[in-house]
């Protein structure tokens, strides 16, 4: 999916034992991870798990209570400016300048990096093309669709040709076409050897883009590894979802013995099993029930590790 990491000993980003608390609330509680060149690391977790705080600490916007952050062999926050010169950031909410055209947004942002106008201007056409925005060079953000705005934010983050990209929920709120275009662009960047740190709530996005995943909950890393390996390590291979009249009664029926784990969510029963064919055969004898048989995926893993309770942002 991505190019193999070039030969280098220093990771692009290395966080060791980060801690951060706000009053009585422990936001981050001993998080460690590293990102190698050319690697895409996905950080997933429920609301309030510590994803954004971790990202803010890596950007030097929040100071950790303890722990160490190094990027490109330099220390954050001591070398914040030198590190940020090599970072590209797309925040969760667009911070585009509404008074400027797309091209002006790129020009003005490039100046913050101390780049000469000539250098920035020479990069603008190819960045607009990368964002599929060449025809919108003179349009203001207010005239753009959600997907276009996100791609302009991404193009803006690339103005300094950064080695490491930090993306906070880059596709939230986008329609499928816009998401696929964003994914395609991010894969292109990985192939160029850039590394990406990405937070997301979409498990298909995490599975598709990320070489490795970090699952956060309550400020701690509760699992990490390659997406397929994580699923294999934590879950039964198959899931049978059953819904319809009488589905809930199955939980206490002998049929439940054919699954390693049974979960209920509302009116639906989930059977996690390594004996799907036998279970399906038994199910066929129950009329009036509808079922869905599928391989276990990252979403199942996520729900198993972090529970099915709703986490409303407090």
């Amino acid at each position: 999916m991505s190019a193999s990491p070039p030969v280098t000993t220093t990771p692009h980003l290395q966080c060791s034992d980060l801690h951060k608390r706000y009053g009585d609330n422990i936001a981050v509680d001993g998080v460690s991870f590293a990102i190698e060149a050319g690697e895409c690391l996905g950080v997933i977790g429920p609301n309030g798990a510590g994803k954004t705080t971790t990202l803010r600490m890596c950007l030097g916007l929040t100071t950790p209570d303890s722990g160490r952050i190094q990027a490109f062999g330099m220390d954050m926050p001591a070398d914040d400016l030198a590190i940020k010169a090599r970072l590209g950031v797309v925040s969760q909410f667009d911070t585009l300048d509404p008074d400027f055209t797309c091209a002006e947004n790129l020009l003005v942002f490039g100046r913050y990096f101390g780049l000469p106008d000539a250098t920035i201007r020479s990069r603008i056409p190819q960045l607009l093309e990368f964002g599929a925005l060449s025809h919108k060079a003179d349009a203001k953000p207010g005239e753009l669709s959600g997907g276009m705005k996100r791609r302009l934010s991404l193009a803006r983050a690339l103005i300094s040709d950064p080695a490491l990209l930090m993306l906070d929920e880059p596709t939230t709120g986008l329609d499928p076409q816009a998401r696929h275009l964003m994914w395609e662009r991010l894969q292109q960047l990985l192939q160029q050897g850039k590394s990406i740190l990405l937070t997301t709530h979409f498990m298909d996005e995490a599975e598709r883009l990320c070489d490795r995943l970090l699952v956060l909950d309550h400020g701690r890393v509760i699992a990490q590894g390659k997406p397929r390996e994580l699923i294999a390590a934590h879950l039964e291979p198959d899931v049978v979802e059953v819904f319809g009249a009488g589905a809930l009664a199955l939980i206490d029926s002998p049929l439940a013995q054919m699954a390693q784990r049974v979960e209920r969510s509302g009116e639906t029963v989930f059977f996690y099993t390594d004996a799907a064919p036998a279970l399906l055969a038994q199910l066929a004898t129950h009329t009036g029930l509808r079922s869905l048989h599928r391989p276990a995926n990252l979403e199942d893993l996520f729900l198993k590790l972090t529970g099915r309770q709703i986490r409303e942002a407090s």
């Binding site: 706000y22 803010r56 950007l59 916007l61 929040t62 100071t63 914040d80 400016l81 030198a82 940020k84 010169a85 970072l87 950031v89 925040s91 909410f93 911070t95 585009l96 300048d97 509404p98 008074d99 400027f100 002006e104 003005v108 942002f109 100046r111 913050y112 990096f113 101390g114 983050a157 300094s160």
Partner: protein
């Protein structure tokens, strides 16, 4: 050493250039209306006013005070409403902070920008005053940098309140509880010796009073009596406010 505040200042300049004409009309129309209505209207009732043993036409008295008020208002509006829009509503600052620019650089840029905009407004009003023949004093050249210092002082002070604001409503307090009383107590509209002693003592400490005490004599082709005292107090207000604004803004952003 790269001036990291400069591209932020330049950003504001670029936005403003697109809206400069309507904004200029808005910025100088109001002070000029005050000047015409009160200067000519009240001036014909009042006639002359006593300033430091000299009698001056009320129009000159008011013009020299109201230009100080314009410097204050222009800087305050920019560093409150406009800076707050960029900081809180548009999240422009958050975007900038993802580049190699520090929060202190952004606050410095906003401070200098508000001061620059105030100077621009004041210059336009000065040109109109010269054209109206209100004063021809060559010492007005000295008033110009003093009004820039006034713009700096009032934008520093406004940035303190910008850092504390939860919404635009908060700024109403700053205007009605602080700026408006100060306008009446700083000798813009009438000489301070008419007021009770204790009010005069209080007024002597207000930042706007310092500006008026410096600028008014220059309009009358005279030198201020205590220039260093007033300049020093303005600089002190600016320096202390700016430090407080930095601390409060850092706290606001260290979520």
């Amino acid at each position: 050493m790269r001036m990291r505040w400069w591209p932020v200042f330049l950003r504001n300049l670029l936005v403003w250039r697109k809206l400069a004409l309507p904004s200029l009309v808005g910025n100088i129309a109001e002070p000029l209306m005050w000047l015409v209505a009160f200067g000519y209207g009240m001036g014909s009732l009042v006639g002359e006013v006593q300033v430091g043993g000299q009698r001056v036409p009320y129009l000159l008295f008011l013009a020299s005070g109201s230009i100080c008020m314009s410097a204050m208002n222009a800087a305050t509006f920019e560093a409150l409403y406009s800076a707050f829009s960029r900081m809180h509503v548009q999240k422009t600052w958050d975007g900038i902070l993802n580049a190699p620019v520090r929060l202190d650089d952004v606050v410095l840029a906003e401070m200098l920008w508000a001061a620059f905009k105030s100077l621009f407004t004041v210059s336009a009003i000065l040109v109109v005053m010269l054209a109206l023949g209100i004063s021809h004093s060559p010492k007005l050249l000295v008033a110009w940098p003093i009004l820039l210092l006034a713009g700096i002082t009032f934008s520093c002070m406004a940035l303190v309140f910008n850092a504390l604001a939860k919404g635009y409503d908060f700024f109403t307090y700053y205007f009605t509880l602080f700026l408006t009383p100060m306008m009446f107590l700083s000798g813009v509209f009438f000489p301070l010796d008419q007021l009770p002693d204790w009010v005069g003592w209080l007024a002597a400490w207000l930042p706007l009073t310092q500006v008026v005490e410096l600028v008014r004599p220059l309009f009358m082709d005279m030198w201020p009596t205590h220039p260093w005292r007033h300049l020093g107090m303005l600089a002190l207000y600016a320096g202390v406010s700016f430090q407080i604004a930095l601390v409060l803004t850092r706290r606001r952003f260290a979520r």
